[in-house]
C-alpha cells in the first residue's frame, strides 16, 4: 500500500497577514502605552519640577517701566522728557579676587571716575559677599560703547530711564524735577505724578537656545503715562525770566518773582522766580532756590493792595473816582496811630489820590468801607486763600479773620499792611479788574493727553463776579492815572495803553521782631492794554538795594521790558497811545509841589523806531512824588499783639523815601507802605 504523501498543509495567507498585523498593532499599542505611561509619569508626578526647569531655561522675567510722560509748553515744545539710559553694575562674586583691582581701574578710567573709589566699593562688596553693585548709572550712548569695547564679561547693563530738561533753567520752578527713581519731587513733576508716572509691569519673555525672544507677555495691561501740556509759552517765559533776572541784578535784590497772566481765561503765560536752578543738576542746587516764590512765598503788598480799598468803596457807592477828598492835613489818626502822607496835598480827586498813593486818602476810604465790607471784598478777590493752581505747596497768604483785627487793622490793611499775599494772588486780583470784575481761577495746565492723543476731560476754570463791570471800569481809569501821571510812569509803553499800580513795603524782620526799614518789598502790577486786556503782569522784588528801590523805580521797568516784548508776540494790536508826561501830575497837584530832578533817566539801547518818542523819555524822569511814592505811617503808641500790628507800631513818618533820609528814618523808626 502506497504511502500517502503527507498533505502539505497550505498556509493561510490571510491568517498570517492578520496575525502579523495584530502583532504590529500590539507592538505599537505597547509602544504607545509605554510612552503614555512615561508621559503620564513625567507630566503628572514630575510636572512641577520639569516645568520649573523648562521655564528657567527659556524664560526671562523682569520689571519694565514705561517712560515718564512728557511736559510740553502751549506750543508743544518739550520742557521735560524722559530717555532710556543704561546703568552699569557687577556681581562681585563673579570676579576673582585678583581681578577686582584691574577691573575697577579700567572702568574708572573709561568713565572718568575716581579709580580708588570704584576699587574701594568693589572690594568692600566682594568682602561682604554682595551680589550687586552699581558702578555707574544712566550713562550716555558714548560711555556705553566705551564700556562695551572693554569686553569684560563681568560687567552687566540694566536699562533705566533718565529725565532730561532740554531748556535748562527755563521754567524750572514750574516744571520742578524728578529724582533718580523718576518720581516727581517738585513743580508739575510732583503735582501731576499720577499722570506722568510710567507704570511698572512684570514682563515675561521666552527665548530660544540662541537667546532670540519668541514670546513676550506682560502681567497686566500697561496703562501708558500721559503727557501734560502747560499754558505757559516758552518764549514769553524766557523773556520774563531774562527781564526779571536783569531787574533783580540791577536792583541788587535778594530775589524776584514775575507772573504773566491772561485775564480773559486765567491762563498763566509765564511764572518766573530769581534765583533759579537747573533741574538737570538738582543735586547741586541750594534748597532755598528751589522755592517757587510766586506761589510759595507771601509778602506785604503795600500800595498795590489799595486796589481792594478803592474797589470796595466804589462798589459800595461810597466814592467816585472823580469825587474829591481833602488830604490837606497830611495825616490821619486811627486808634492811637497817626498815619501820614509824605507830602501834603490839598483837595484832590480819589483818582489823583490813588495815583500819588496817598495814605491818608486810602485810610479814610478804608474806614468808610468798614471792616465787614473790606474783608468780604478782599476774600472775593481771592486773598487769604489758595488760588488752586496745579502746583504743589501753594500758600494762601495771610488774611486774619475780623475778630482777630486790632483797632487799627482796617487802616493798616487799607494801605496793604497786616496782610500777606502771593504774587499769583495779586495777579489774579488785577486780572479781575481787567476782566470786567470777573475773577477766573488761574491755572497752568492746558490739557492732559493720553499716548494716543486723546485729551482727558477737564473742568473749565471757575469764575466769580467779584465787582460789577462798572466798578472795574472805574478802577481801570484810576489805575491808568497811576501810569500816566503817578508813581508808575516807568511802566509806560510805546503804542500800548498800560494801567497798573506800584507798591513798596517795608519787610518784617524775624530777627528784629519788627519792621526793618532797610528791607523793602517793591512791586508793580500792571495790565496791558487798558481795554480788551491781553496780559496782567506782576513783578515783585524782594529787598532791592540801591539809591532808588521803590516799586516805580525797580519793578515798573521790568514790567515794561516784559510787556514790550510779549505784547507783539501775542499778536496784540497796538492801541496807538503814547506815553504821557509826568509833569501833568505835578501841575494837577494842588499841593503845589515843585518838580525836583531826582535823577537823570535816559532811554538807552532802544530800537531806533522807539527812540523817536521824546515824550516817553520825558515821562520817564522821576519826580519827587514818584520817589516818595508810598507815604509813611506815623506811630504815636506801640500797642497790639499780632506780628503785623507790631510792624506798624514801629512805623513813623517818612518825609521822603530817598536813601539820604534813610539814616534819619532809622533813628525815628519810620514805616513805608
Amino acid at each position: 500500500m502506497a504511502k500517502r504523501k503527507p498533505v502539505k498543509k497550505k498556509q493561510n495567507s490571510v491568517q498570517t497577514a492578520f496575525t502579523r498585523f495584530m502583532f504590529i498593532v500590539a507592538f505599537f499599542t505597547v509602544w504607545i502605552g509605554v510612552i503614555g505611561v512615561r508621559l503620564v509619569h513625567l507630566q503628572v508626578t514630575q510636572h512641577s519640577d520639569l516645568r520649573e526647569k523648562a521655564v528657567n531655561q527659556r524664560r526671562d522675567e523682569f520689571k519694565d517701566r514705561a517712560l515718564r510722560g512728557t511736559i510740553f509748553d502751549r506750543s508743544e515744545r518739550a520742557l521735560a522728557i524722559s530717555l532710556k539710559a543704561k546703568s552699569l553694575f557687577v556681581d562681585p562674586t563673579e570676579i576673582a579676587d585678583i581681578d577686582v583691582q584691574p577691573i575697577a581701574y579700567r572702568v574708572a578710567h573709561t568713565l572718568n571716575l575716581k579709580p580708588n573709589e570704584v576699587f574701594g566699593e568693589l572690594r568692600k562688596a566682594k568682602d561682604n559677599n554682595r551680589r550687586f553693585v552699581w558702578l555707574a548709572r544712566k550713562l550716555d550712548e558714548e560711555s556705553v560703547n566705551k564700556i562695551n569695547n572693554l569686553n569684560l564679561d563681568v560687567l552687566h547693563w540694566k536699562e533705566e530711564q533718565t529725565r532730561s530738561y532740554p531748556h535748562g533753567v527755563l521754567a524750572s520752578h514750574i516744571i520742578g524735577f524728578s529724582n533718580s527713581e523718576e518720581v516727581g519731587q517738585a513743580g508739575i513733576e510732583l503735582s501731576q505724578e499720577k499722570y506722568l508716572h510710567g507704570e511698572t509691569v512684570e514682563v515675561h519673555q521666552d527665548k530660544d537656545r540662541l537667546g532670540r525672544v519668541f514670546d513676550r507677555e506682560e502681567t497686566e495691561g500697561r496703562k501708558p503715562p500721559k503727557d501734560v501740556v502747560l499754558t505757559i509759552d516758552y518764549g514769553i517765559q524766557y523773556k520774563t525770566e531774562q527781564a526779571l533776572a536783569r531787574g533783580v541784578a540791577n536792583a541788587n535784590a535778594k530775589s524776584g518773582t514775575a507772573v504773566v497772566l491772561n485775564p480773559k481765561n486765567g491762563e498763566i503765560l509765564a511764572m518766573a522766580t530769581v534765583p533759579t536752578f537747573d533741574p538737570n543738576k538738582y543735586g547741586e542746587v541750594l534748597p532755598d532756590n528751589l522755592k517757587n516764590r510766586a506761589i510759595q512765598d507771601y509778602y506785604t503788598p503795600g500800595s498795590t493792595f489799595k486796589l481792594v480799598t478803592y474797589s470796595s468803596a466804589i462798589e459800595a457807592g461810597l466814592i467816585k473816582p472823580e469825587g474829591t477828598i481833602d488830604v490837606s492835613k497830611g495825616f490821619i489818626k486811627v486808634a492811637d496811630r497817626e498815619i501820614a502822607d509824605s507830602h501834603k496835598s490839598g483837595v484832590i480827586s480819589y483818582a489823583e489820590a490813588f495815583a500819588v498813593s496817598s495814605n491818608v486818602a486810602a485810610v479814610t476810604t478804608g474806614l468808610r468801607v468798614g471792616k465787614q465790607n473790606f474783608f468780604e471784598t478782599a476774600t472775593k478777590f481771592g486773598f487769604g486763600q489758595t488760588t488752586g493752581i496745579e502746583l504743589p505747596a501753594e500758600t494762601g497768604g495771610i488774611l486774619h479773620p475780623i475778630q482777630n483785627w486790632n483797632p487799627d487793622s482796617l487802616a493798616s490793611m487799607s494801605l496793604g499792611y497786616e496782610i500777606g499775599i502771593t504774587t499769583l494772588q495779586n495777579a489774579s486780583a488785577f486780572a479781575t479788574i481787567a476782566n470786567g470784575g470777573i475773577r477766573i481761577k488761574p491755572h497752568i495746565i492746558k490739557e492732559i493727553r493720553e499716548a494716543d492723543g486723546n485729551i482727558l476731560p477737564q473742568n473749565s476754570p471757575e469764575s466769580v463776579q467779584v465787582i460789577t463791570p462798572e466798578t472795574a471800569t472805574a478802577m481801570r481809569k484810576m489805575l491808568q492815572k497811576v501810569v500816566l501821571a503817578g508813581t508808575g510812569v516807568r511802566a509806560q509803553l510805546n503804542g500800548y495803553t498800560v494801567i497798573g499800580k506800584t507798591g513798596t513795603a517795608w519787610k518784617y524782620d524775624e530777627k528784629l521782631k519788627r519792621i526793618n526799614q532797610e528791607k523793602y518789598v517793591s512791586s508793580f502790577a500792571g495790565i496791558a492794554p487798558m481795554e480788551n486786556s491781553a496780559v496782567v503782569i506782576v513783578v515783585v522784588l524782594d529787598e532791592p538795594k540801591g539809591e532808588f528801590r521803590d516799586g516805580g523805580h525797580v519793578a515798573a521797568p521790568i514790567f515794561r521790558e516784559i510787556a514790550e516784548q510779549i505784547l507783539p508776540e501775542l499778536g496784540v494790536e497796538a492801541d496807538g497811545t503814547k506815553p504821557n508826561t509826568s509833569a501833568e501830575l505835578i501841575t494837577e497837584d494842588k499841593g503845589g509841589h515843585k518838580v525836583e530832578k531826582a535823577e537823570k533817566v535816559k532811554k538807552v539801547d532802544a530800537p531806533k523806531t522807539l527812540n523817536n518818542d521824546k515824550k516817553s523819555e520825558k515821562s520817564a524822569k522821576p519826580t519827587k512824588t514818584e520817589v516818595a511814592e508810598n507815604k509813611p505811617v506815623k506811630e504815636s503808641k506801640n500797642s497790639g499783639e499780632t506780628k503785623d500790628s507790631k510792624d506798624s507800631k514801629d512805623s513813623k513818618t517818612l518825609k521822603e523815601a530817598k536813601p539820604k533820609d534813610e539814616a534819619k528814618n532809622k533813628s525815628s523808626g519810620k514805616d513805608k507802605t
Binding site: 490571510v14 497577514a17 492578520f18 498585523f21 498593532v25 517712560l67 515744545r77 518739550a78 522728557i81 524722559s82 530717555l83 532710556k84 532730561s164 532740554p166 531748556h167 535748562g168 527755563l170 519673555q205 521666552d206 530660544d208 532670540r212 525672544v213 519668541f214 514670546d215 513676550r216 516758552y234 518764549g235 524766557y238 527781564a243 536783569r246 516807568r490 539809591e547 532808588f548 521797568p557 515794561r560 521790558e561 514790550e564 516784548q565 508826561t581 509833569a583 505835578i586 501841575t587 503845589g592 518838580v595 530832578k597 535823577e599 537823570k600 533817566v601 535816559k602 532811554k603 538807552v604 539801547d605 532802544a606 530800537p607 522807539l610 521824546k614 516817553s616 523819555e617 520825558k618 520817564a620
Partner: protein, 182 residues
C-alpha cells in the same frame, strides 16, 4: 486496522471561504488615521514653528520700534536744546549779533560813566602814538570825533529838553496859582 469504507477517488470538494474584508478596512482606517495624525502633527508643528518665528520677528520689530522711539526722543531733546532761547542767544552772539533791548531807562550816572569810557577809548592819540599807529588810528580817530560830536549833540539836546519842560511847568504852575488866587 479496520478499513473504512471511503471512496478512493472521490476528492473533497474544495471549501471556498469568503475572504474577510475587515483587515483591509482596518489597514485603510489605520492608514487614514495615521495620515490624519501625521498631517495634524505636521500642521501643529508648522503652526508652532511659525508662531516661534513670528514671535521672533515680533520681538525684533518691537526692539526696532523701541530703538527708533529712543532715537526719536534723543533727537527731540537735541532739537529742543539746539532751539532753546539761551542756545540761540549764544549762537547769535557767536556770529556777532547783538541783542536789541526795549529797555529804555538807565540811571544817568551809569550812562555817563559809559560815555566817558567811550570818549576815553576814542580820545585823540598823543604825538608819539600817532606816529606809531598812524595808519590804524586814522580811522578810530575819525570815529571818535564823530562819536564825541554825537554825544555832545545829544547832551546839548538833552539839556535843552530838560530846560524846556521846567519852564513850561513853572509857567503852568504860576498860571494855576494865579487862578487859585483869583
Amino acid at each position: 486496522m479496520k478499513k473504512r469504507n471511503l471512496p478512493q477517488n472521490e476528492k473533497n470538494e474544495r471549501v471556498r471561504r469568503e475572504r474577510d474584508p475587515i483587515p483591509w478596512r482596518y489597514c485603510f482606517l489605520t492608514l487614514l488615521c495615521g495620515g490624519i495624525l501625521v498631517i495634524g502633527f505636521f500642521f501643529a508643528a508648522r503652526q508652532h514653528f511659525s508662531a516661534i518665528s513670528l514671535g521672533m520677528k515680533n520681538s525684533e520689530l518691537r526692539k526696532q520700534r523701541d530703538d527708533l522711539q529712543t532715537e526719536q526722543r534723543r533727537l527731540k531733546v537735541s532739537r529742543e536744546v539746539a532751539f532753546s532761547p539761551s542756545e540761540l542767544e549764544k549762537v547769535a552772539r557767536g556770529i556777532g549779533l547783538e541783542k536789541v533791548s526795549n529797555v529804555a531807562y538807565q540811571i544817568a550816572g551809569v550812562e555817563k560813566k559809559v560815555e566817558e569810557k567811550v570818549k576815553n577809548a576814542f580820545a585823540k592819540p598823543t604825538k608819539d602814538t600817532k606816529s606809531e599807529k598812524s595808519a590804524n588810528n586814522d580811522k578810530s580817530a575819525k570815529t571818535a570825533k564823530s562819536l564825541s560830536e554825537i554825544i555832545k549833540n545829544d547832551d546839548s539836546k538833552d539839556a535843552k529838553k530838560e530846560e524846556k519842560p521846567s519852564k513850561s511847568d513853572s509857567t503852568k504852575q504860576d498860571a494855576k496859582l494865579d487862578k487859585k488866587g483869583k
